[in-house]
Symmetry: C2
Subunit: 263 residues, 2 copies
Amino acid sequence: MYTAAQASSVTPVHFMPRNGFAEVPAAGAPLQAFCSSCHLKDLCLPCGLAGIDVERLDGLKFARRRIKEGQALYHEGNSFGFLYAVRSGTFKSTVTSRDGREQVTGFNMAGELMGLDGLAHGTHASGATALEDAEICAIPYAQLTELAAGGAALQQVVSRLMSREIVREHSLMLLLGSMNAEERLAAFLLNLSQRMKARGYSASEFHLRMSRAEIGSYLGMKLETVSRAFSNFQQQGLLQVDKKHVRIVDHAGLTRAFEMRVQ
Amino acid sequence: MYTAAQASSVTPVHFMPRNGFAEVPAAGAPLQAFCSSCHLKDLCLPCGLAGIDVERLDGLKFARRRIKEGQALYHEGNSFGFLYAVRSGTFKSTVTSRDGREQVTGFNMAGELMGLDGLAHGTHASGATALEDAEICAIPYAQLTELAAGGAALQQVVSRLMSREIVREHSLMLLLGSMNAEERLAAFLLNLSQRMKARGYSASEFHLRMSRAEIGSYLGMKLETVSRAFSNFQQQGLLQVDKKHVRIVDHAGLTRAFEMRVQ
DNA sequence: CGATTCCTTGAGGCATCTCAAGGCAAGTGG
DNA sequence: CCACTTGCCTTGAGATGCCTCAAGGAATCG
């Protein structure tokens, strides 16, 4: 669990002169500066847009920013101004109840958009913290709406992404409300597996970026229970677990564990 | 709990000739047909819009529809085409897991918008069922976006409503993930109380439209546990409960119960 | 090499679930 | 009008899954 002290520093935004670098063949620094040529364009904001609209996206002047492990991208209550697209690394989103209980509401990886909850009241309702060194695009929301006013397609994409977030939270509620510990962990791992696959990584073997406590917080259980569930899955021959390294041995079995309650 | 049979009938849409009725002084039937003169305009879609934009909303040709108690407004998987604004009555939204477990994800009352989750994949990710005889406005989403293309303000409103839904679900996740039975029920009742108040009803005395089982499903607990929590609150002198009629006797005490974990 | 963090595992306790019985109110049919 | 059904709620008693507390191991870091 990250302490308040760790989370209380916010890295400054560094605006990159994107146009200047755009034509550089490829050295080390900003590989793609435009949405249209980003390797994440099929996952990220441009997803679903036709050629012409993607090019209009290139009109966005957004900042790139590096976030170190444990640092906050934004805090609960910070004023809303940007949407954040993950370029690399993993984040957790958290909400805090008035009495200080913190709960993880989501994990975000490359190509996923964060900060959509800030739109409601102009301040972020959740905070985002990097679980490993990461890089994001900070998209000024005002610019995005301005751009969207020109053509409906872009606005549609943003709306659809928000809707997807709602749907995602629906299934999380289903999980939190009606599944037992092992079902929850199985669901979590299968979801992670699928997202890794979509990003070109192995669907069966990956490295967890989050601690047992963070997984537990996300799934509504204690870290010890998470640990025990991992051990059980390993004993059942569904997983091989070594600390944060997970290998899914029996994908079908894990799926069954996830649907156990079915007669 | 409603059976599948009850929920499987969907009432047809009746388009009302709104212009024809608009000028009728006020008899019994459609009292307001335009958003600009709707008594719910401060809660519903027009909320936050300036005069000129509200008038543009009047350009929307939407259907009014009556839904009988127990009937579905739409089902999970139905193709998405409309947003629904509640005019009167109460709805529950539910999602179903592949193995048939149903979970209530929300209750909606007058002025609230339903169906936003359908935008993500073009089909509704949840179903909506009337808990009492109800009336809704069915807003064609295509028309809404068309209208929104003209001015950014309207699109902003829709986006903000979606964002609000995300924020709402965040706090529900916090509830499901880290509160005990009594805290959950207290949070639920306080939320309900506040929404009743916002609609001009008493904040301290109201009629529950949902069964114990539905409350339990929403809060991630069994109906017996809901019932016991009600009884406990009554014994503690926080509530007076008679079946579905609830009176909040000690609002501050209930708030304390909700924040109990804060030593 | 000690301090720290994270994970695992065990033992016991407790909150909630499960199962069961009964009450109340509304609806139904004789 | 009354017996009967049905749906919903309440309450009790026992079972259980998860939490709590505690101890110890492994990896990382200064």
